[in-house]
Symmetry: C2
Subunit: 370 residues, 2 copies
Amino acid sequence: MDTTTQTASIDTRQTNPGVELDLPKIQPLVQPELDTEVAGLLASTRYPRHALGRVESLLQQMARIQHAPGQAFAGIALDQPQLLVFAADHGIVDEGVSAFAQETSRQRVEEVLLGVAPVNTLVRLHGFDLTLVDAGLAQRLDRPSGTDEDVALLPRKIGHGTRNMVLGPAMPLRQAIAALQAGMDVVRHLPGRVLAIGDIGVGSTACAALLLSRLCGVPLPDACGRDQEQSGGLDSLRRQHRLEKLQLAAARHRKAVTPLDALAAMGGFEIAMQAGAMLQAASERRVVLVDGFVAGAAALVARGLCPAVSDYLVFGHRSTEPGHRLLLIHMQAQPLLDMELRVGQGVGALMAWPLLQAAQALLPIQRQVT
Amino acid sequence: MDTTTQTASIDTRQTNPGVELDLPKIQPLVQPELDTEVAGLLASTRYPRHALGRVESLLQQMARIQHAPGQAFAGIALDQPQLLVFAADHGIVDEGVSAFAQETSRQRVEEVLLGVAPVNTLVRLHGFDLTLVDAGLAQRLDRPSGTDEDVALLPRKIGHGTRNMVLGPAMPLRQAIAALQAGMDVVRHLPGRVLAIGDIGVGSTACAALLLSRLCGVPLPDACGRDQEQSGGLDSLRRQHRLEKLQLAAARHRKAVTPLDALAAMGGFEIAMQAGAMLQAASERRVVLVDGFVAGAAALVARGLCPAVSDYLVFGHRSTEPGHRLLLIHMQAQPLLDMELRVGQGVGALMAWPLLQAAQALLPIQRQVT
């Protein structure tokens, strides 16, 4: 079994003395016997084959994730679902690549802490625990008064926002590694078998577009969106300006081709932490419910570091960000929802959550009627 | 206000003495002031325009449905949600157009009454009331012992299955009208502001394909599905056989071009009742959550009888039935989910339900943060 476990210790010491990244071990999910067992539970003479369609593939995936080979199948466990929201700022906002001022990141975070953001509504509706992680907001983050005690706040600030990547790398390699490891660490202390992951941070979709372009070979204009499509909440003139700035950044960091180097050069603290969280969650056999474009870019980085992580990812939705569609195609992923959201925070992941619940509930019933 | 209300009394007496169909009055939903009010509640300086995407259009639609012009807007009411499942048999099954024997319809219905069908799981998960209507099963339907007391059973049998429509009309016009009126009647006695509608009945997708073809001008092979696609749970040889039989039926009833005539000639009792239920629910300003291909065909008929009904329909999902995609395009509808279901019973409608809940929950929060 251990022979198939994907693990890696990426040695960065040659170029960066003293910097080494230890990745958790992730088991690739190939369990044909379990697949047969679940398919047997789902089969019914009363309905066409695969009557429950994608609910069946979702069940298969969740079963594979939660049951190690050799373990008896005992259904899907969805108790104590967790949402992690990572917040950070991006130096590239200085170049005018977003419709929002950097200050907006902290305001959005404060709304989450106050319990009045869209994601709080869904957290309450679906019974999630919400942990907000300050991965690197530019400003100091204090809990506002009247704060929602149900929201846990974890200060894991790697820096006060990344640097402007048009001028240099967004972060030094050691910060990228520190952020990845902080993400892993945060997950280690959470209960539950399902982890939803989302993010907050003005300018983050610019990073996501750059990472998509670099790691998947997607032309940058496609990753940013052409034509009438909106990206970053901008009109066509500012979109053109944004594309030019991102092209400058991509050219400057043309040598950053590995996932780790690309992450450091063009990523963000919250992207690095999300990637770390995904890797750790997968190594612990948790179902990872991925939110939107930025979380998707973190998934790309995580996959680059350890391909087996993909088996553990459930993509909650496809957002309106044009690059998100391409990213999902490159991840060979079919998202559960397509609600044209552009809100972040894990809202899309939480909207998809009831489908996991429905899938779980439909399994034992199928057993009875077969 | 009354001047814009769409209503109709379809006079069928010329060709069918004594047969007249009284349709309920349905208000077309044009409420620009309400739209502005809801948009105002959703607007936020912190997020891009339309950050909540299709959740916003869903909210707009539900608001329009539940608030008559002039009424103050007071949020969306989703309490006491109802699921109506209409069951019936189809004489055309004699021609071998389904992978399942007619007997399967009653078995599926009994599973629902026993509380062990997939839809029961979702009814319990989402707190729906479930009413099963025997619209015209071929066999006598008794409540099986050990029945689920939470499932209401309404005997409204119009006939013991329709007739084989290759040999003649599926039902006489007076039965089509009786079924439509029974559907209206059933809704009149239900509480709640949201009504989900689904169906059970072997052979029903054949009727749906014929109605789609006739009422929308879709070529029958497209309505049935070509190539690798499955329809009616059949392999390619039997699919060809099925298409030939449906072409015979379509040719025989080539003069049945009005919605009512097409319904009688090529529809089913459960389709007629679903259409009636949709019309009545719309006239009472209920949100109508439509299940799959067969319920969609009922929506086509209902729209043919009273176009304003479309404003009240929320399409829960797109099934794997190839015709369903075309039907939704013709209804200019974007379904909430695309889970590749082929199970019927209202399962797809109930899977989509949490999105209505999420939309409802997201509205007041938006008001606070704006």
